[in-house]
């Protein structure tokens, strides 16, 4: 594990402090605020209208492709970070491969961009 001087314990203290203060904020209105239930108040808000139809409807997935691309690029960037780390040290043999990795990933990027340009609406 880490040594103490890196401050991992203080990180934990910070996280606990943030959590507890957030909880405190959440608890306050439970104690002080009024709680009056009514049917209209608890209705889903749709800009004044009563919501028609089912609430959890399914939406179209126009930009889903970008999410998949994001996953692939995320992995790639993690390799690039290792490469960037050893960038400044001279004469690394495998200098080229991550750059080639990026080159390989450009065609899917163009493909996806073209594809979603065809759908210019949300």
């Amino acid at each position: 594990m880490f040594s103490a001087d890196q401050g991992i314990y203080w990180f934990v203290v910070f996280a606990v402090l943030a959590l507890v203060s957030g909880l405190l904020f959440l608890m306050t209105p439970m104690i002080f605020a009024p709680r009056r239930r009514s049917a209209i108040k608890e209705e889903t808000f749709e800009a004044g209208q009563l919501p028609p139809g089912a609430k959890r409807i399914r939406f179209a997935l126009q930009y889903y492709a970008y999410l998949l691309l994001f996953l692939v690029f995320d992995v790639t960037i993690m390799f690039l970070f290792v490469w960037a780390y050893s960038f400044s040290s001279e004469g690394t043999y495998g200098f080229v491969y991550p750059l080639l990795l990026i080159l390989v990933l450009i065609p899917p990027l163009i493909f996806t961009a073209k594809l979603s340009k065809a759908m210019d609406m949300w």
């Binding site: 997935l61 889903y64 998949l68 996953l71 692939v72 995320d74 992995v75 993690m78 390799f79």
Partner: protein
């Protein structure tokens, strides 16, 4: 029981949980979950061996990183398949994907 054994036992436990899911679940999403759990168990196994044997840490870490990357690609393709299947048929039950059966 030393530390190496503890971590391998932990990874075996996760592997077993994943096997349980593979055998017992019918929803394709849950099966994807089980596959992810199994892959993660494998990577924990390799990481434990890397840490508790006096060899080069770099190689084992590289292998684990490759495992994670492959699993990510697998998850992307798998989810695309699941969503596509859902679009076509409205359900993701693997037992009911039997259109090819004669």
């Amino acid at each position: 029981m030393n530390e190496l054994q503890f971590f391998i036992a932990a990874s075996a436990l996760f592997f077993a949980i994943g096997v349980y899911g593979l055998l017992s679940k019918k929803s394709a999403v849950r099966i994807l979950f089980s596959i992810e759990i199994i892959i993660n168990a494998a990577s924990l196994n390799i990481a434990a061996f890397a840490r508790f044997t006096p060899y080069n840490l770099g190689d084992a870490q590289s292998v684990t990183i490759f495992i994670i990357a492959l699993a990510a690609a697998e998850a992307a393709a798998g989810l695309a398949l699941i969503i596509e299947s859902f679009r076509l048929r409205g359900k993701v039950d693997v037992d009911e994907m039997d259109e090819l059966k004669g």
